[in-house]
Amino acid sequence: MVPLSWYLIFSAALFSIGLFGVLSRRNAVAILLGVELMLNSVNVNLAAFWRYGDVADIAGQVFAIIVFAVAAAEVSVGLALVISVYRRRNTVIADDLDMMKF
């Protein structure tokens, strides 16, 4: 069988890829794509700990479902903000949205 460490290393790698996307992309939509990758890697971790821990205790899967709901909420609000900003400022580049910068 696949050892637990493989799943954990896989999700750590996926999390790091998402972190790179969040930190280095200029486009706000691309930043949200990176956030999605990070949330997915967390879900893989939760499912792996459920499978390799106590299977009868379903908490890991329930937590993953809550993460699904929060991810859907996050992405809908985030994309609505991006579209609203694009309408007003005609840009989606995160560096250009600096009107609240002191």
Binding site: S24, A30, I93
Partner: protein
């Protein structure tokens, strides 16, 4: 090396490769399509972990709704940002450094942990994970309260999203 391990490695490299394409490709429509490939790989991971409900929800909610939402958002905002100009900001090397440090830190942390080589738990006889999950989500002694709070959060977020993105003109 068993069959399950080979399947795991193939799926893992496919998923990580398409994840890298998501964060590096220039065209954002392509990035959203690579995101669908990544999400599908993660769904296969859930299937490998015997989390069948999560695999189905991953395909329906993530690929069916969230990825399509991303493609719509890219198409609504793609006027000048499509292929020209740098896609990475000036400090991209710092982001790359930080993510490499994060990965090696997690990797080193995992090496020192005793549960690293655990084998999967055996399913008790007449145990159905989907039934147990459904019961846990609606049972008052389990997780009905977090479940309801999550649904209220989702409704509030969607109403807020409609309000924010509404075009008053």
């Amino acid at each position: 090396m068993t069959g399950a391990q080979i399947i795991f490695l193939v799926v893992a490299f496919f998923t990580l490769g398409s994840g890298l394409m998501v964060v590096t490709t220039r065209n954002l429509v392509h990035a959203a399509l690579w995101l669908i490939a990544t999400l599908f790989g993660v769904a296969v991971m859930f299937a490998l972990l015997n989390a069948s409900f999560l695999a189905v929800v991953q395909v329906v909610v993530y690929i069916g709704a969230i990825a399509i939402l991303f493609i719509f958002a890219v198409m609504l905002t793609r006027k000048e940002m499509r292929d020209q100009g740098p896609q990475l900001n000036r400090n991209w090397w710092f982001g790359a450094l930080l993510s490499v440090v994060t990965f090696s830190g997690l990797f080193a942390l995992l090496q020192g942990w005793s549960g690293i080589s655990k084998t999967p738990a055996v399913f008790p006889s007449d145990f159905d994970a989907v039934t147990a999950l459904g019961n846990a989500l609606v049972s008052p002694d389990a997780y009905v309260l977090p479940f309801e709070v999550a649904s209220v959060l989702l409704v509030a977020a969607l109403v807020g999203a409609v309000y924010v993105a509404f075009n008053r003109k």
